[in-house]
Amino acid sequence: MPATLNLRLTWCALFCSAALLLVPGYIQAQCSSTPGLSKLYQTGWGIDFKGQRFALDTTINGGNAADLKLKWAYGFGTKTPRVFPLVSEDTIFIGDANVGLVALDRDSGCTRWVNEAVTDPSTAISHGVIDGRTVLVIAGRQSGVFAVDAISGATIWQRHVNDDNPVPVFSGSPLVFEEQVFVPLSSMEIGLSANPFYGCCTTSGAVASLDLRTGQTNWYRRTIPDQPKVTGRHYLFVEEYGPSGAPVWGAPTLDVERRLLYFGTGQNYSHPTTATSDAIFAVDIDSGEPRWIAQFTENDAFNMACAAGGVNCPDPMGPDVDFGAPPILVTLPDGRDAVLAGQKSGDIWAINPDDGTTIWHTRIGRGGALGGIHWGMAVDQENATLFVPISDLPALPGKDEAEPGMFALDIATGKNRWSSPRVQRCEGRQCWSGLSAGITVADGVIVAGALDGLLEIYDSVSGALIWSYDTQVEFDTVNGVAAKGGAIDAHGPVLAGNLLIAVSGYGSFGQKPGNALLVFELPEEASP
């Protein structure tokens, strides 16, 4: 080939490559497809097994949080992302509905691998080890539980966990311990009940223990022991059933010392109500047998037919005050342990982990069907403080005054240490200013995302606002998908290393949709 032709071809190849890189959608950062796994920052939804949501391994603190800067953004394939990341030393694993479980390079956001089988991810990611291989466990909202090889992204097994319920819903995050995967189970019946020709309702909430190696069921604990019976009939032919409900849609919390699993339940879907709805369960992790069950609201029967004015709405209708926020295991200043549980009613209970009796109780705000306390609280064990985000969204609201905002309580007594009410700033915006999403705490800081789209950091000692970032804007993204923030709800933000990671957008229950994954970084000069 003549030298001049060679030269021309080389120039042409260079020019074409450069042109391709300039076309939106073709911009792809290059990164290794193999994630580093020597350090994983969370065990699952609760960051630690106790569910305290305290980020130990972060350099972000009260002194430097104000210096956080947006590092990169990623556009999700859904306008209602309900996911929570798992962070390693160089990778962020996170579910992206309609795309899959993705592994993103922590530095650039470029995609290392995608597991497309996880089409509807809806939980945090827990992890375990099989024969030296790190396994990620995540659930799809209706597709079930997936065990995925963390290095390659390949599916190891998938289980629908329909042992007892043909229509399970996976809202609560699974938790891996030893070789067990604990899976909380809710039910599609909460929504199916809105169909007047549906025979409401027959399913029970549950927690299942699966074998980490195979996905097979070790034990399956229904929250309602009794089988449903026909209780009535409407439209001549449609049979009504009960008891039902008591779903588990929050992540479980693990007490390694007592080998107990704590989890909360929701309301009954139909009458008769049971002694296991709106309750905290403590079950033996090896057998699934309940050690104790403590119910805090009786006779709460509610389903979506009540919101739609449908014939399946239970009569009398209950207030729908679930325990969605996972319980938190703490050690009180006097050395006793306690389980702290927050309810959608705004009630907070400190419970003796040995017998389920109440140590103290307090209440904040007016509560409602969407909180009160909705997705999760957090604890600073060293300072004996419980942090409580309050939503008080006006959905089946209680009678008292709404008090949306952040509250700090003494874990020994439940007494208020400080409160930081949130000002309504939703004029002209589709939002409510409450705090519904789960929160994360670290040394001197609380990170919270609000339904009005503001991502905030509070001083955990005084409650003062240190940093605020409005996420309800458009973002340029590393994956070329147009992204806009919205309400911040569900699993909430997290701190890991020098990063703050938040998901913005939540189209459910009238909140503002959005699809932004935002990664903020503490600049090197601000790091301790």
Binding site: N162, N165, P166, V167, S187, M188, E189, L192, F197, Y198, G199, C201, T202, T203, Y235, L236, F237, V238, E239
Partner: protein
């Protein structure tokens, strides 16, 4: 086609279709109510709900039209409008298997995809089917597939 038959008027066919369009879902709905096939959680597991929905549609169609189709080549709508389905070649009453297995099946195959998308290629199929009525013999695509024609009987049925 015999002299006792002539191609049906487009308007009559439209009204007959509209009548069937109301009656078949109504009967399907009653079947659903009485049988309870969509009443339990099992019905909503996997993709069963679609299969059960299609089954109910078929059941409703056969319940209200099966006997009439077998005896007279008519649905209720066509009976009301005085039109009937015949074998396009002989002009005789079309055989039941053609009416059920080809002609009636044509509709869910053609129209059900509309439930998933009102745009793109699938949306054109029903239009294409109906556009064939503009032919001089008024035979739609489903008639051509089943070898049938919809006609007005101008003389009484032979004894």
């Amino acid at each position: 086609m015999s002299a006792a038959l002539q191609s049906s008027h487009m308007g009559r066919r439209l009204v007959a279709t509209a009548i069937d369009f109301v009656l078949v879902p109504l009967v399907s709905f009653l079947v659903m109510l009485v049988s309870g096939v969509m009443e339990s959680a099992d019905a909503y597991a996997g993709n069963q709900i679609w299969l059960r929905g299609i089954g109910l549609g078929v059941a409703g169609y056969l319940l209200i039209n099966g006997w009439l189709l077998h005896r007279r080549g008519q649905t209720v709508g066509k009976m009301v409008m005085g039109i009937m389905i015949v074998d396009a070649t002989s002009g005789d009453k079309a055989s039941l298997w053609r009416l059920i297995l080809i002609r009636a099946l044509f509709f869910p195959l053609l129209y059900l995809p509309l439930l998933f998308s009102f745009v793109g290629f699938w949306a054109l199929l029903p239009l294409l089917d109906q556009a064939f009525i503009l032919r001089s013999d008024r035979r739609c695509l489903h008639d051509l597939a089943a070898g049938t024609a919809v006609v007005t009987r101008v003389a009484p049925l032979p004894a």
